[in-house]
Structure formats: C-alpha cells, structure tokens
C-alpha cells in the first residue's frame, strides 16, 4: 500500500517546528506503525536527510515510550492499543496520516516526535513508592491480601506511564496517571503506611509541573492503551479528601 505522511519536525525545544510531507510507497499492511517509520527513516538516511526522531523501546506494549498522536488520537485509531502494537492494515491505501507529538506544557518537545516525559518521574519521586525494610527477603505470602483487592490494584498497576491520558485530555491533565499510581499503592497493605502523605505530595507535584485540572471529560479513559478506568480518579479524589480532612500534618 502507498501512504502520505504529514509529520511534525522540530530540531529542538527552542526552535519552531513545522509539518513535513512524505510519500511512502510499498508499505506492507503487516508492518507495525513503528516499522513503517523505520522504513521511512531508512529512505531518509539513504537520501542524505535527517531521520524522524521518535521514541520506542519494547515494541510490545509494556514500556510506554512510543506515544504518538496519530490522526487526532493518542496511539492512533484503535482502543487499548499502543502505537507499537498498531499495524498499517488499520489504514487505507492512499490515506494521509498526520503524526504529531504529545502536546502539553509539562511535556516539552525534545526533537521531532519525542517529548520529555520526566514530569511523570518527578511525580513518582514525590510519592510513588513504598518503604521497605532492608535485610533478608521476607516470606512473600506473609501478608494476606483479599483476592478482589489484589486484582483491583493490578488493574491500576498496568499503567505503563505512556502519557496518552495527558495527550488526550483537553486540559493536559495527568489525573488518570496519578490516580492509577495513588490507587494501586493505597489498596495494598504495604502502601497504606504512606497513603495520606502520598496522595497529597503527588497531587501537589502534578499541579506544580503545569498539568491541567480534571474536567471529568473522560477522554483519558477512552484513549488509555491499558484501559485504566476513571473510577481510579474518583478513588484518588476520595483518598485526597480524606487525607486533607482527617490526616495529621507532617509535611
């Protein structure tokens, strides 16, 4: 199949970017979206041109680096699919595909389609951890956990930190990501120790980094490749309210 590409090119964070058009011939429908970009880059390099910078690592939907905004949807037209899991058979022969980077004040562009998502790391540093004793490892099953709660915590834990929720949200809000992390820890006994501090610290950091407020638009849930539910946002809201109202101040 032949496709037309319109790709955002930008040298670095301080220069102005622009769209560049490419005609790509003989694309196999079996190619993944990233393989299609590799194929384009090979031709650009052979033609002595600068290849398109995009992020990728695992190429199997688990690392969360490959986010691209494709034809108006983070990770492209399929639901519950990362860009690396998207295949060219989802597009029509002759179709124009427009590829943009995540757009958010908190995710500045590094180059072309690659953005700096270290804001998520900063939120994690603020509270996305649990304290553990050092020394010999403990018996793994020493703490009983209700199966339903363990499953629910796992539903939150599948978040891969890709940032599609921020990219999808009209307010660039990071609520779904933060809610997934806060909820995951808050449900498990090991995470309960710091729960009240954690939610306040992570929300404070999220606000400080310039993410928007949550308008309960729910675009995040729709575009999350891992199907994280906005019920976790409600859970974080509960955690936050009770932490503000009931916990003792120690920060």
């Amino acid at each position: 199949m032949d496709i037309k590409l319109k790709i955002w090119r930008q040298k670095n964070a301080s220069t102005k970017g622009r769209f560049e058009d490419y005609d790509l011939k003989d694309v196999s429908p079996e190619m993944s979206f990233l393989e299609m970009l590799d194929y384009l880059n090979k031709q650009l390099i052979e033609g002595g041109k600068e290849p398109v910078t995009f992020e990728h690592d695992c190429r199997e939907g688990i690392c969360g680096t490959c986010g691209l905004y494709i034809n108006g949807r983070p990770h492209g037209p399929l639901t519950h699919t990362t860009t690396c899991e998207l295949h060219m058979r989802e597009f029509k022969d002759g179709e124009t595909i427009i590829v943009e980077p995540w757009r958010s004040k908190a995710f500045p562009i590094i180059k072309d389609l690659a953005v700096d998502r270290s804001a998520f790391d900063k939120i994690m540093h603020a509270g996305g951890f649990i304290n553990v004793d050092t020394g010999s490892s403990k018996e793994a099953n020493a703490i009983p956990i209700n199966k339903k709660i363990a499953d629910r915590a796992f539903d939150a834990a599948v978040c891969i930190g890709c940032g599609a929720c921020v990219a999808a949200c009209k307010n660039s809000s990071a609520m779904l990501f933060v809610a997934a992390k806060v909820s995951q820890y808050a449900m498990l006994p090991q995470g309960k120790v710091e729960a009240a501090d954690r939610v306040q610290r992570m929300v404070e950091k999220m606000d400080e980094l310039g993410f928007g407020y949550c308008s309960n638009t729910y675009a995040c849930e729709f575009d999350c490749p891992k199907g994280i539910s906005v019920e976790f946002i409600a859970q974080m809201n509960r955690e936050f309210i009770s932490a503000k109202m009931c916990s003792h101040k120690n920060h």
Binding site: W8, F19, Y69, N71, G72, R73, P74, I98, E100, R103, S104, K105, A106, A168, K170, N171, S172, S173, Q200, R201, V203, E204, M206, D207, G210, F211, G212, Y213, C214, S215, N216, T217, Y218, A219, F222, D223, V230, E231, I233, A234, Q235, M236, N237, R238, E239, F240, I241, K244, H251
Partner: protein, 221 residues
C-alpha cells in the same frame, strides 16, 4: 515541605466547585417547583409560596448561602478554565477524535450564558424586591412576581431568550450532575451508570420545566 494554606490544589478547587454546584442544583429544583405553581391558573398558590419564601427566617439565611454558592462557583469555574488554558500552549493540528462527556468541553461557555441570564433575571425580579429597581406600574407591589412574569413573558424576544438560556443551562447540567459525583469521589460501577442517567433526566426536567412557563404565558394566558 511546606504548603501555604491559601494556595489550593487543583483537587481542592474542583471539590469546592462541585459542592457549590450541587447546592445550586438543589436550589434550581426548589425554584422550579415554586415556578410551576404559576401554571395552576391563577396567582394565589404562587403568591402564597412567594410570601413564605420571602418571610421565612431560615430561607433568608439560605439566601446568603445561595449567593455565596453562586459567587464561589463562578470564581472557581473561571479559575479552573484559566489554568487549563495554560496547560497546552501549542494546540494539536488535528482536533481530538476521542470519545468524551461532550458538554464538559463547553462548561465555561454554557456557564457564562447562565451568568448573563442570571444578571437579567436578578434585575427583572430580585432587585425589584430589594428596591434596587423601581416596581413596574403593572405590579401591585414589589413581590408581585406573577404580574411581572405575565407582562415579561408576553414579549416574544424575552420569552425566546429565556428558553434559549434554559437550553444552555440544560447542557451545563447534563455534564455537571454526574461530574460533581465523580469529583467528590462517588464513582463506582454499582451506581455510576444510574447517576449518568439521572444526570440526563435532571438536565431535561430543569430545562423543559422552566421553559414551559414562558411558553404557557405567551401562548395560552
């Protein structure tokens, strides 16, 4: 880490916005019930309700809470909107194709239309009661809202503006009702689908309920 008590987090902002909004929705329900008394054929039932509402001391206190709720809701709504505008300085070339709670995108717009309506409404009715606006000659006293409504709703443009504003209020409420529950942390698959349905019903009841009154006076009175 020290956090000043004055600087509210995004979640606290939304929490207060939602609480004020919930109170306003309760107020809208009682206001609608009172207004529907105008459809009884004569003014007596409505006048009695107005008499009660303007003399009862508890209602007087609630009135202050209502003003506070409006002011807080409007100020916080504008703050949320201003901050959200800053979060994406460079917009996308292709507009988002994601499925969303549709009216959530236009809350500030529908909100501002409600605000303009609110000002017109206060000038026409509430400020007359307060003595800030002169009692029109066709009303017997400053509480004769029935006579004021009859004359105002006979004007086609006024009735039209009134109905259009309530359609926009309906758009606001369609998203707002269920959104407030989500903001307060009350989303669970046991009951949230029902809350979404109630949200739509509430929005329809309020916008149709209030709109019936000018339509009745314009065509049938």
């Amino acid at each position: 880490m020290k956090q000043s008590t004055l600087k509210l987090s995004s979640l606290s902002h939304k929490f207060i916005l939602a609480l004020a909004g919930l109170f306003l929705m309760l107020f809208l329900s009682t206001h609608l019930l009172t207004n529907l008394l105008m459809l009884t054929g004569d003014s007596s039932a409505f006048d009695q309700a107005v008499e009660f509402l303007s003399t009862n001391p508890i209602i007087k206190v609630v009135e202050y809470v209502l003003f506070a709720a409006f002011i807080i809701h409007i100020i916080f709504g504008v703050i949320v909107w201003l901050n959200n505008n800053k979060a994406r300085p460079v917009k996308y070339y292709v507009a988002s194709g994601s499925e969303t709670s549709y009216f959530s995108k236009f809350m500030i717009h529908t909100g501002l239309i409600i605000f303009v309506f609110l000002v017109i409404h206060l000038v026409n009715f509430y400020f007359v009661k307060l003595g800030l606006v002169a009692v029109p000659e066709y009303a017997s006293d400053s509480h004769d809202f029935y006579a004021m409504a009859v004359v105002l709703f006979k004007e086609p443009l006024y009735s039209l503006i009134y109905v259009v504003c309530f359609i926009f209020l309906g758009f606001h409420l369609k998203h707002a009702f269920q959104s407030a529950f989500q903001t307060l942390g009350l989303n669970h698959d046991k009951y949230f689908p029902a809350i979404k349905v109630i949200s739509t019903i509430y929005a329809l009841v309020i916008s149709i309920g209030f709109s019936i009154i000018p339509v009745y006076f314009y065509f049938f009175h």
